[in-house]
């Protein structure tokens, strides 16, 4: 009787391989460390932040970094360190919601288009093209302006401009998957379209979309920050990094700390996501695997 050469759980095996590749890529490690730190900061923000991030105290405004105020204070005398720390929550919330919303929109549109093909595909893809051809920052600005600037609407605006990638990706994946013998086998066994699409094709599209999502989380923060910069993002006094950079740009020369620290945090977190995403893609890319 045959016997498998080596029996191991697939999950463990994948994990092992991933860990192996992860360990080999120093940049990916750095990326993950950054993200873990980011997540920890967001999780424990109220404990880490020494001051109330929105409480004004004009008597101590514009103080340069010191032991009392690690990152200095802003024009309202708010502690920048505390604001930056609390800002991580805003950023995380935006990332999380945008990812979930745009990921789901994208995957559903993409899988539907890819699975059914033909006219459905044609229509859905043309819609995707429209959103793709639309200058996305302008689109986000317009939506933010239309809905009124605030956190929720910022999230909606960014989601509306960012689902296209996932749609294309999952469409491509769905097309690949739907002609696989294992899908035909279910058809042969009498499985209906919806069953095949949602139970069998869709799960296969999730992981490439997830990878892309990680890769794009950086972009999400940046778009949010750009909206903040243009004054269309999260409204004050909620600490949001992009708006902080924007507010501090008038102070850039003399009170460099106001926009520099949030700027560094944006750059760092985005860097973390990019390094990690890049690494994950390298790890999962079957072309680069082997």
């Amino acid at each position: 009787m045959e016997k498998t050469a080596k029996v191991s759980r697939p999950f463990m095996d994948d994990l092992k391989h991933t860990a192996f590749l992860w360990r080999r890529s120093r940049l990916t490690m750095i990326g993950s460390v950054i993200i873990v730190i980011f997540l920890l900061i967001a999780a424990f923000a109220p404990l880490i932040a020494p001051y109330d991030p929105i409480e004004q105290n004009l008597s101590i405004k514009l103080q340069s970094p010191s032991w009392q105020h690690l990152f200095g204070t802003d024009q309202f005398g708010r502690d920048i360190f505390s604001r930056v720390i609390s800002g991580s929550r805003t950023a995380l919330w935006i990332i999380f919601l945008v990812s979930v919303i745009s990921g789901s929109i994208g995957i559903i549109i993409g899988v539907t288009a890819g699975y059914f093909g033909g006219i459905v595909d044609e229509v859905l893809m043309r819609i995707t093209d429209m959103f793709l051809a639309f200058p996305s920052l302008v689109l986000a600005m317009a939506f933010a302006a239309m809905l009124g600037p605030n956190l929720t609407n910022t999230i909606i605006a960014i989601s509306i401009v960012s689902w296209t990638t996932y749609a294309r990706l999952s469409r491509a994946e769905a097309i690949k998957v739907k002609s696989q013998p294992y899908i035909e086998a279910i058809k042969a066994a009498g499985g209906g379209n919806l069953r095949i699409m949602f139970l069998h094709v869709l799960p296969m599209c999730i992981s490439p979309v997830l990878v892309q999502l990680t890769l794009r989380m950086g972009t999400i923060i940046l778009t949010a920050a750009s909206l903040g910069f243009l004054g269309l993002g999260v409204q004050p006094p909620t600490p949001e990094w992009g708006a902080m950079v924007s507010d501090g740009r008038n102070f850039l020369i003399d009170q460099w700390w106001i926009s520099t620290f949030p700027g560094i945090f944006i750059a760092f977190v985005v860097l973390g996501f990019n390094l990690l995403g890049d690494g994950i893609r390298d790890m999962l890319d079957p072309r680069l695997r082997r």
Binding site: I54, E55, Q56, L58, K61, Q75, F76, A145, G148, P149, N150, G231, Q235, P236, P237, D247, R249, N250, F251, L252, I253, D254
Partner: protein
Amino acid sequence: ATPKDTLVIGANTGIFITMDPAVAYEVLPNKIVAACYAQLVNLKAIDGVIVPVPDIAESWEISEDGLTYIFHIRQGVKFSNGDPLTAEDVLFSLKRPILLESVSAWFLVDIFGINKDNVDEKIKQIDENTIAITLNAPYAENITLGILSNMFTGIVNKKVVLANEVNGDLGTAWLADHSAGAGPYVLVQWERNNVILLEANPNYYGPQPPLKRIMIRDVPEASNQRLFLERGDIDVAWDLTPQLLAEAKKNPNVVEVKVPGHSNEYLAMNASWGPLKDPKVREAVRYSINYEEIVKDIMLDNAILVQGFINKGYFGYVEKNPFYQDIEKAKALLAEAGYPDGFEVELITSNTDTRKAEAEKIQADLAKVGIKANLVIVQSSQMYAKYRAQGHQMIIAGWGNDYPDPDNLAMSHANYRANQLAWRNAWYDDYAATLCEWGQIEPNPDKREQIYKDLTEYWFHNGPFAMLYQTVEFWGIRKEVKNFEEAAFGYGMLFDFTKVSK
């Protein structure tokens, strides 16, 4: 460094629309247009007071009933291209805004009652050198001349303008970026979002200005204006924030210039919305704001603490600031009004650094008395859309005066019938409105002054406003630039480029 005979100004010109005197409406474009055109009457600062003075109208008479004004046209004035300026040009120029239904002509239409249908009767050439304008009410002379000193009375060269007419537009398209006037300067180039260039008019009827050229470069970011200024690439930084100015003036080559402004900044409350209906609540709001900190810490003293609606230096100004931050009092008032725990309100304002800072500051102040203000910071166009539709709850905005008379401020801030700010804030108060309308036509200055004082006193505690401050206009300039302050005095109303030298 910039050339000796040229003044280089860095400004955000993104919002500039047109240089047609009949249409231009924004403050800085108006001043640029003003440099290119002689007007029927002009304004001048005399001993710190802005008064109407003759320009193209050498002199004028007012009819008995106070309704008709006869203007005598100055002789020997030439347009920049050398054509003589005649009463025909004046008539043409005065009718243009009305025929064009220009936005800035609303004074003529909505105040003077001159419109497309009756314009030929209301504005007439009497003889070769005189023009008559007939009003619908005997407005105080200061009001009439103040309104007529607006940019839309800039005199254009009829021949040139008509030569450039397309589709009966009376030359507006062409005039948007050309000039055909008799002012001290000529608009030689306007590349939008890039540069505006004025050159001295060799045919100017007054003395030649010391600077041959004025160049306005588009620098949208205030912080960049500062960089340019400090490096000497521009002579004047137009849109600095108080903070940027404070930092820039540490540079020995940079000087700050400040003049009192002709506008104010206020917090307004929609008197038809929820808790704000109650005058006690509005009073409570007025007592929760720390006005001093706004002037000192936000504006860095680039503002004047004025709590009435009439600017300091204006006829009828009330030298009294009854409000200050008194948290206990404010809380007590709120409790009296039935809101011991405060309430939630939406505070809208436009997206400029200053407004944002004020909004954040006021948000923090209101929080102290339990009012939770949610900021909505939008483009000013959107803010105004909402404001006009009475769709706001609280708003931080400002009013720039159109003519140097308290009437302009009273009508807007207190007379809901004028469909202005008072109306937008749903303050339908007939007592105040009546006082305003009376003030408009009261010929006796003393009585008039008393009317405005009474009105202010009433308005303080009943109105829908918390006046934050009267603005101060400020610039950062290179130290080589001379007499800038003199030129800028009265900014908002006037700006005299001919005074500046280097």
